[in-house]
Subunit: 381 residues, 4 copies
Amino acid sequence: MRKICVVITARASYSRIKTVLTAIQAHPRLDLQIVVTGSALVDRFGNIIPYLEAEALPVSAIIPNLLDVESDTASAKTTGLAVIELATFFANHRPDVVVTVADRFETIATAIAAVNMNIPLAHIQGGEMTGNIDDRIRNSISQLADLHFVATENARARLIHMGLSPQKVFYTGCPSIDLLHRYKDRDFDPYEIYGGVGSEPDLDQPYLVVLQHPVTTETGHSKWQIGNTLHAIAALNIPSVWFWPNADPGTAGTAQGIRAFREQHPELPFHFFKNMESAHFIRLLKNCACFVGNSSVGIRECSALGVPAVNIGSRQRGRERGPNVMDCIPDTEAIISAVRHQLTHGPYPPVTLYGKGHAGERIAEQLANIPFILKKHLLPA
Amino acid sequence: MRKICVVITARASYSRIKTVLTAIQAHPRLDLQIVVTGSALVDRFGNIIPYLEAEALPVSAIIPNLLDVESDTASAKTTGLAVIELATFFANHRPDVVVTVADRFETIATAIAAVNMNIPLAHIQGGEMTGNIDDRIRNSISQLADLHFVATENARARLIHMGLSPQKVFYTGCPSIDLLHRYKDRDFDPYEIYGGVGSEPDLDQPYLVVLQHPVTTETGHSKWQIGNTLHAIAALNIPSVWFWPNADPGTAGTAQGIRAFREQHPELPFHFFKNMESAHFIRLLKNCACFVGNSSVGIRECSALGVPAVNIGSRQRGRERGPNVMDCIPDTEAIISAVRHQLTHGPYPPVTLYGKGHAGERIAEQLANIPFILKKHLLPA
Amino acid sequence: MRKICVVITARASYSRIKTVLTAIQAHPRLDLQIVVTGSALVDRFGNIIPYLEAEALPVSAIIPNLLDVESDTASAKTTGLAVIELATFFANHRPDVVVTVADRFETIATAIAAVNMNIPLAHIQGGEMTGNIDDRIRNSISQLADLHFVATENARARLIHMGLSPQKVFYTGCPSIDLLHRYKDRDFDPYEIYGGVGSEPDLDQPYLVVLQHPVTTETGHSKWQIGNTLHAIAALNIPSVWFWPNADPGTAGTAQGIRAFREQHPELPFHFFKNMESAHFIRLLKNCACFVGNSSVGIRECSALGVPAVNIGSRQRGRERGPNVMDCIPDTEAIISAVRHQLTHGPYPPVTLYGKGHAGERIAEQLANIPFILKKHLLPA
Amino acid sequence: MRKICVVITARASYSRIKTVLTAIQAHPRLDLQIVVTGSALVDRFGNIIPYLEAEALPVSAIIPNLLDVESDTASAKTTGLAVIELATFFANHRPDVVVTVADRFETIATAIAAVNMNIPLAHIQGGEMTGNIDDRIRNSISQLADLHFVATENARARLIHMGLSPQKVFYTGCPSIDLLHRYKDRDFDPYEIYGGVGSEPDLDQPYLVVLQHPVTTETGHSKWQIGNTLHAIAALNIPSVWFWPNADPGTAGTAQGIRAFREQHPELPFHFFKNMESAHFIRLLKNCACFVGNSSVGIRECSALGVPAVNIGSRQRGRERGPNVMDCIPDTEAIISAVRHQLTHGPYPPVTLYGKGHAGERIAEQLANIPFILKKHLLPA
């Protein structure tokens, strides 16, 4: 049995690789270790423990390490703590492969701990481009990894061009796409299940889904940026379902902006959720009139679903996108006009840019079969 | 005044960038902050504090963080601690640019702390290739850095090919070359100045300089590998000056191998130094008959000096080299025969592969002049 | 010049020892180093940096280390980080004496770092008793300290009884008392200076000051406990000025309780401040009709001022108190009845239980004069 | 089942509480969790993992955290890391009680992590006195602990006098005494089993056992102190078996002193062991002519065995001792004369100062039965 350790640092990463986890767990020759750390343990950023439990996915360890977001040292220190404590986990549980996901600042901690301990490192979702600091983290992790599972053909080409061995870069598609076609209707009441705050607009009317994170290189502007989005949707006065931002630097500004606006405008048809299980989120997304924000959801999931998306600002700059995406600057008027355009246009034809499903199983299969050159076990001749 | 923070984690890095430090300090528009951490603070790996003091270079802070090398978590945990404490240093001293050097495992800590705090990061000696784990660390840091000062034209091409902006990659040559031509004769007595242990062979006879580090992906073999080198030089029975290995994983094995051999063979014409100021080291190297080991010194400094070098094993695989280097596997017979060949051949013509000097000043000048796009200060339109 | 390093981890500690800081700074033979860490750097718990700057007190270093309060590992990890980074500070700045204050969980970090580095440790406010977990932390620090500055005669007796040397235990009074008599009227508008939220009740009417922290051994009840206080004061419907709790475990519950209540009852004559400079806080306190909560302010400052105080629950159990304090359980009815009693009674005669002023100067004088047996410098005969 | 977590930070602590571990493991209502950390994981200070495995004692986790001993921040940083990572262990394994042992600097980390997480803390060997910095650490831990298992009646009295509740302080005797009477003859060849270095003196002749640690408040003198002992025993020229010092601050000096002396005097009848299983160590001790050094073994185990002991210097100052102990200053002549006296005197009658055996079982029984007031579970009325 190969021991595969997957380190999850954020709700978004969990949603993205859920089918990888279930495929590893189901695989007869793989032994799954899940480590949960960072914002993925914090309720207000989306604690994933209940979801893992609901799916009967085993949690090998939790490593609480998120620093209070107020200091600009918080992300560095959270990363440093993660390196230290993941090393201890690896020393105790001796995984054969460590898996890290995407490009959040703490994911590099997983890479560093694994590489420093000579444990083969697999990276999911390398080779993409968003045009911001995430690119640097993502490419940096790609350079550290031994094995790459990429979401698009372009991403594979980019990694190989960057000097990585073609034998180690596998195009599997994005596992976040695997689940998309499993659900169809919005057959649940999100207010009842998830609570949240705000008015409860009628979701049988056309509604928006909004998810806007701070931009890590523009942290001083996060309040102003979310403010423009809030004003734009307020002007449109359409039912909308908002999600709380992740724990990136700048999140305090985004959160403050939302909280202040919400208190001043209780009359608007806005509802705010902290968190939602991905199965529910997908159903909500699939049935919305338009996605608004700067999450990769607008680019990735929405392209496969054909949902119109308005992508705001620089956070996804450079990421491959389908025809469903309309970009705009973080300006109230620009957002209003882009959303209006998308509502008028309506659904787009789905595209398979990010895969056709089964990414989870393909990744598990490779993890079970690839012959690792286990440098640590090389014997003298 | 731009505040330039240089983080030094190992004796070898200090030797390499000494002329960068003096050039920054001499520059009228730069304010130098030096942080010393990792093995660069530990006597038996080469404490650089006395050298900095001797050069009147200012130490802004020491950050002692080296874990006891016995655990295989040590390098990860040292890195994690470095990220945490460098973040605090940056929060207190607010450098405008952070400079990190080369490819040792802890240097990525500097990169991560700087990137997470939105401080522009400059990397010296990116783009080289050695064919081992150092490549991964080095390329990973290059992906995180904003500014690159490279040692060779090939290194520049490699970084640009990897996707980095040509405007940010500067070919300056390697600062370690700057000092080489300043000294000529070995006009000092190393035994008197540096003590050390072992017999004191006559350095007016042809002598070897030996510097062999553990290979980080072959840590279990470090004792066996140094043992082969020790036996080879013993068989040759030539005066030789040995240097202690750095603090990489596996160093305990190398150190043990040296210590045990030395106790058993006090009669051999071997002398062992823990440490030596680079001005002295260069003079010793310049006048030796042959360099032996796996340090980049054999490739880099020796090529510029025309000193014959025997490069053992995989540690420098892939690094650009001049005609002065003869490679061999870590096998006693192979080493004996390679050293014999080089002694017979004698000095080689120097080559300018790694620059022609003045790298330190060029780097300082770029640090003073380049217009940083300070992402953190971007204002809303 | 003796270098005296004072480590401040919370707003409350700063307020308490402000006169010690100014006395050290004014002393001709003392050199003051202030390190600010923990919740004292976080805006929503009371960032003290602006206050230090306003007083021209020098900040030698900030060490941001507060973990996100949601995890029950947060206080331990904040403490661990503090030990690590204070050690680095001490290694760089080599204080002759380190000063730690009172009994918050992170203050033991200061003690451990100093003791492990053989630096004499002075403790302010040892020997008191509150009957909860703080006693353990406080006594534990007393056992580690070399020098003790205590607030009451009883505290001195208790430390000596505990086995500490009488020569090392100095009764100086509590420095928090030093400032009390400097101010008289409430001659400022707190709403204008500090903002805050809620209605702005008329402070020329009799008003309450409320400050209730979570109880660290009852963290699960913090929301319920603050709820009872909120309901009690709401029932009394008296103008009241509330302060945000400190960053102890359980603070999220307290904060949530306040936030929810405030949103539901915007009509009440309650105003909420995050923070207030001590000079202003004292004036506000001095002129209030009654103090309510579980802060030591009710016991310590109010006894010297003769301000009636209602002390709720177990947090101050065992602390020496004057006649001005009425204790009650954290029950709505009990609180209502205690506050009514105190309002009817009116001001009490001040008592000098916690000193008569000049504690700051006395402490500075001892720090300058006491002959430390510097164990680290003992030479062999 | 109550989960009892015992944290072991050093070989000496393990030897001391071995019978507690086996008694907890054997107890039908206790579930044993062992965490090994600090120097107890490092070969050259006495890695205890092989001994635990040999006894079939379960290791729940290892936490490698020892910093390189060269820096004077090492013990503080090791302690800080321990607090951080023990908190994670406790969060994952939720012990009902945490047990910490004696007085080494890192043991306070266990106490702090447990107290900050509201887990009841039991302390073994509180209340003793040695007259040095260990007293401070030990008393500091006693103040943090909920439950105390003490080795002597005096220790119990001292803790109660210090203000701790008599209901929480149990006189059980020292578990290190439990094993002493199980073995009689030295029926094994230590050279064969443990290797070590030096000559192999005949242990059928009268021989000494020497174990001298650095003194944490006199770290600068450790080399000089061990030097005096080495010279004294050399002058006596008696067969002697030496043990390596523990990982306290100053250990580098002690180790250097031993290493240098050993290389210069290979002819002396000295043998040096890094480590020895306690069953073997006891047999070696029981049959020696005299114990020499500053370990508590000379005071504690030797008093119960009646073995003459020479106790050097200040490390055990104040510890209760039987008639078998002769104290002397760390001076060559003083040591020579004290050892001569003891050799002339020969064995002493055993005393039961530190208990009569069965301490391990008594402690396990209390851990199973004592009704913890679990403050964290208190419910509102």
